[in-house]
Symmetry: C2
Subunit: 721 residues, 2 copies
């Protein structure tokens, strides 16, 4: 983790240098020390290029210097085209010269074993001590297309056009995949302003560049490829600021699958973490998750801060009935809503269309539109723009004949211009087939045109998701700060706490638990049962027996003194048989809760994100349907409400089959307290489970609890707590 | 429905004509009567073209005849390039000439209202009476690329190459979408042998062409675009034969979404049906469901009957760690299994790779492979071919430098040739970027190469699904024929049967139901309770009160005579209050079943497929998670087992949390009996529900039942049964 952050301004020399020195400059055209210089020339770098070569006087027509020191002026950026063993002395030269930034391509560091790790650590420390910001090592470099900085040896960057739409910054934790994404974007008319391959993140990290782009006025969309965050807390703060600025962060996060996360963990040595926690984190802070690189491209094309869709209601206009149906299926699969049009709107459209066209959604203009009657493409637009229930208008094909001078195109553009809705053409994914001739004019006038091969409906769905988040976002998320009694002493030294110990901790945090007393004799059990009132539950209380059912050491719904007396003995005997060396605190006598809806509230200490809260419906729901949701702690009240909405089983909480809804506020209250407990004691508590939390029409109560604490290393740690 | 099928041979003149007459031939180059002739010329039709024109002597250099009759020889196929009002007289001419097949492009028929429907009916009857097989009307036509029959006015068909892989037939219920798919396939090196746009299916249907292709030796894969089947029974029989012949049927079926199925219903007037029943039908009979047109292309490229994957275990080889992770995620999302490699295989591969490469799956050869060390692509192949746990081997990129003469390529091909596993290159979806130079040589040698833009991993997943089906398929599916007592008289005349009436029907079919008696007085109820034995359940029995809970007319677990007596009165009173005009048969006194796992068995009469059986886990599972599965009746025993496997809740039936598994054979038995009952009485029973069927470790019992019968039109129908 980057402990001390230097601030995004420190990246200016790196991303916007005026002078660039190339160490290891070479006269051999095939060496990267030459390719790099050529790339800067071909990219028309708007500054000075300074090849460093001991003997050569010029390379590729540019004057060389024998060393960094030999150059009389200031050098903003040094690109290391030198081998692994030259890195350290070269970096020392940089420090002497007072250089503030460098790119290191070489591999052989943290990804290559212990020695490399050690060296990387040392170089990183050296760089930080001397205020040198470094990209890499083990990276492809950086590109700034706004000033011609092609700071990479990868020649393929220059094979694609640089004429596409601007405003998108891109940071990648994978070099090769990053380059491919850069190129795919360029081929599809998006030219990234910045491309950064972060490599091993020895000094600068993904988060640093996100921060830079957040403050960079040229960047309107921040995008990237993420394997694992090294500083999630910083990421969270950046995401909150990005939401305020309406500057979307669109990230592809790989490692969703088991194999993928296995590979991600070994790939860059980054801690990939549990993918669903990342997913929760993204949802919680409004980061758009791209499924693939094409989502970044389509989102970038569709995004317009002044024309964000008000919701997911989508109308499809097509000249092929079959295609319309297919796209409608696709829309709904991505969560868009292919609405039925209102009668009013239908009537308005019908007036302008021949009888054989279909005015349901998808609107089928029929083949006549594509062949002979291109004016039909114009017919439904005004009515759809006027209908407030329509949020996005998508054409699957467009009047091919219209060029920029067609009056019909001008009329189309005029209507679109006066609308605040996304209007787009998603062409058939077939080379050069249905891409409208006037595409350029359409795009210049705010009508998006995307090749269907890029899966644009998924991109639209992501845009709707973003728009929905922005509309309801908490711009200043506040965690309610309630103070609770210190429970450090209750956390003890055992790895797993007994139920009564765990419940005591919950009680201190104001979480309602069952009344309970620990009986060590049958007489005591009977005594407590009377106080608590029948019916009661008896459970073994032992830190060594977390699975009480397995041990046959739990009895529900006991009604009489006799039952309590005899079951006390049975439970103690069963527990002793189950685990002879277990420490038995006694038998916990508890009130028998009335039936309610059972949910599970859990929390754990994630290695990447720290405390994370989980909720799900009890029993079979979790086991069979994995219907659980996560939020990264600390939770705001809105987070606690949102997490319940994310459950499929939310319909049960809302009351099904004529049953009354349960007290969701009571659940929210428990979630916030669990979040607080986990956050307050993140160095001690590893895991917490309330299973079940029984929820009623009014109130909720924890019927069982489990808590795992970190075994402290020394007694001092306990006391110091 | 086509009542009488003429047999696939009747389509030979249509698809393999030796002589084609073009009605409405035109000298005007822009009219379809000219375009069609030019298309046949440009397609190099291997037969005679006969333009019919009253005055012209030749068109496009080909001799004309003034009428069909004027041509001296036999005419196999007539293409109608005439307007709507000329269709009837022209068709009469065809009959006079004894012509056996025709293509009609014109629209204005069943899709255009009542008059068109009527005309289509008459023309269809006329064609059938005269043995003329017709494609259309309202279609784009047919193409047979093996003999140059470009029987379509759509000029775009000829803009794509005809040089791709052969063996794929394609039938489409959407003209425009079909043409686009034909073209996309051609651009991706698949040239369909046949392309058929079936239009309104006045005479020939989707099923007819599937049948033809099933018998056509040139066709190894049958593919298509389906909106709704007109003859599902025929489809089923064809699918069973196709499985026997290992000739896959790969269909895109649209209308998965609400909007999509709404549109499909109105588009060709076909009955789109409930999508999930189609889905069940496809699964049941081994029809591969393509999600989009690209699945048809990728499946066709991957399919090789001698190299079907033995399962879903997939190994990915990449030169980009990031890309590998991404593809691993994609694989798992499609249900493929990115396995961990065995130690033995890892050791073998490690020997051949440098230390910086990663030998977990995905195997990361690193950028070195793509840049300097192309031999690395060869390194892991032999070990993966030798490992029986590996089912498919996929490269995300390939040695770009190797051409057809490279010894390394030859070695690669040699290893692949001796393997029965699919080996493929799925290149990055970027124009001309990572497509291997030796692609042609690879493909010629059985190594598939697919552009990543086509989503090839989904195609691979479909291939695995097909392969799994083929491996376990019932080649001669037999429905067990058990005879049951005739229940026709029990089905009565009411729309909804009372529970006791419905249970009586089930009992006759050998389905275990609770013991029950109908009491009309409290005394009788007490009497029956004694016989049945306490505890008992009391429920109102009335065909007019299907929702007994809503009427508060059901009491569970009654233990005593007093309870039975008083509750009898309460139930009768509540029922009368709930629905004063309801016919009350009395109160059903039933045994109280012990708790077990509750499932729902349902059945309904689908408008497309007839009787369909459904199963799901009871209560909340169905309501919240929609965890249900369907099979089209009649079910085989294998179907009944398979349907349970398809439920997520199957894990509950198998026993979770240390619980014993339930008696799945008892469920299978009920499913087969329900299937039989629905099939025997498909003209009477509309709907059946057993909810719940309580299943135990041994046995199962229907605790409640509901049956809806079709109200007969006349008394005769009842008696006639």
């Amino acid at each position: 983790m980057s402990e001390k952050s230097l601030g995004y301004e420190s990246l200016i020399p790196l991303l916007k240098p005026k002078t660039i020195a190339v160490l290891g400059a070479s006269e051999n055209k095939y060496k990267i020390g030459h390719l790099q210089i050529q790339a800067l020339i071909d990219g028309k770098f708007q500054g000075e290029i300074i090849p460093i070569h001991q003997r050569a006087t010029e390379i590729a027509g540019i004057k060389c210097y024998p060393s960094l020191q030999a150059y009389p002026g200031e050098i903003d950026l040094v690109i290391f085209c030198v081998s692994f063993d030259q890195i350290r002395p070269c970096l020392e030269d940089c420090a002497v010269k007072g250089i503030k930034s460098a790119i290191i391509f070489a591999s052989g560091f943290s990804e290559a074993g212990e020695y490399g790790q050690q060296l990387q650590q040392e170089l990183g420390d050296f760089a930080r001590a001397n205020g040198i910001r470094i990209v890499g090592p083990n990276c492809v470099g950086i590109v700034n297309t706004t000033n011609g900085l092609i700071g990479t040896f990868s020649p393929s960057i220059l094979t694609v056009p640089m004429t596409g739409k601007r405003g998108v910054g891109y940071v990648s934790q994978s070099g090769a995949f990053g380059v491919l994404t850069y190129m795919a974007a360029a081929q599809n008319d998006i030219t990234f302003n910045y491309f950064v391959s972060t490599g091993n993140e020895m000094d600068t990290t993904m988060e640093d560049f996100v921060e830079y782009m957040l403050h960079d006025d040229d960047t309107t969309i921040i995008s990237g490829y993420l394997e694992g965050s090294k500083n999630p807390e910083k990421f969270k703060q950046l995401a909150i600021q990005a939401v305020k600025k309406k500057k979307p962060i669109v990230l592809m996060k790989t490692g969703r699958s088991n194999a993928g996360s296995r590979a991600a963990a070994s790939h860059t040595g980054s801690l990939a973490g549990i993918d669903k926690i990342y997913d929760a984190f993204f949802k919680q802070y409004g980061i758009v998750r791209a499924e693939d690189f094409d989502d970044i491209i389509t989102f970038s094309k569709l995004f317009n801060p002044d024309k964000l869709p008000k919701g997911g209601n989508t109308v499809i206009i097509t000249s092929s009935g079959g295609r319309g149906i297919n796209e409608a299926d696709r829309c709904e699969a991505y969560g868009l809503n292919v609405i039925e049009l209102s009668e009013e709107t239908k009537v308005k459209i019908k007036e302008k269309l021949p009888s054989y066209a279909s005015v349901s959604n998808p609107i089928d203009l029929t083949a006549a539109a594509s062949v002979t009657n291109q004016e039909l493409y114009l017919a439904p637009l005004q009515a759809l723009v006027d209908d407030p229930n329509v949020h996005s208008i998508i054409y699957t094909d467009f009047a091919y004949m219209w060029d920029e001078n067609s009056p019909q195109l001008q009329e189309f553009i005029e209507i679109a211009r006066n609308s605040d809705k996304p209007i787009a053409v998603f062409s058939f994914p077939l080379d050069g087939m249905t891409y409208p001739r006037a595409a350029k004019t359409l795009v210049e006038n705010g009508i998006t045109v995307i090749s269907g091969a890029l899966n644009p409906f998924r991109g639209l769905a992501k845009l709707v998701e973003y728009s929905n988040f922005i509309q309801s976002a908490d711009l200043e998320p506040q965690v309610e700060d309630i103070q609770f009694a210190d429970v450090t002493s209750l956390l003890g030294v055992n790895e797993t706490l007994s139920e009564s110990e765990a419940s005591a901790v919950l009680s201190q945090y104001g979480i309602p638990t069952t009344s309970r007393e620990i009986a060590t004799t049958a007489d005591q059990a009977v005594h407590f049962a009377k106080i608590i009132d029948y019916p009661v539950v008896l459970k073994i209380d032992s830190p060594d027996i977390p699975h009480k059912t397995e041990a046959d050491a739990i009895r529900l719904n006991l009604q009489t003194e006799e039952d309590v007396r005899s079951e006390f003995e049975t439970i103690m005997a069963n527990a002793r048989r189950y685990k002879p060396d277990a420490v038995l605190n006694g038998v916990s006598v508890q009130e028998m809760l009335a039936p309610g809806v059972e949910i599970i509230v859990g929390a754990h200490n994630d290695p990447t994100f720290g405390p994370v809260v989980m909720v799900g419906l009890g029993g079979i729901f979790v086991e069979v349907f994995k219907d659980v949701a996560f939020k990264v702690a600390p939770l705001t009240r809105k987070d606690a409400h949102d997490i319940l909405e994310e459950l499929k089983g939310n319909t049960i909480l809302n009351g099904t089959r004529g049953k009354a809804p349960v007290d969701k506020e009571a659940i929210v209250d428990v979630l916030l307290k669990v979040s607080k407990l986990m956050t307050d004691h993140k160095d001690h508590i590893l895991e917490l489970d309330i299973n079940p939390l029984v929820v009623y029409e009014e109130g909720a109560k924890a019927a069982d609890a489990m808590l795992v604490v970190k075994v402290p290393q020394t007694a001092k740690e306990i006391i110091g707590g």
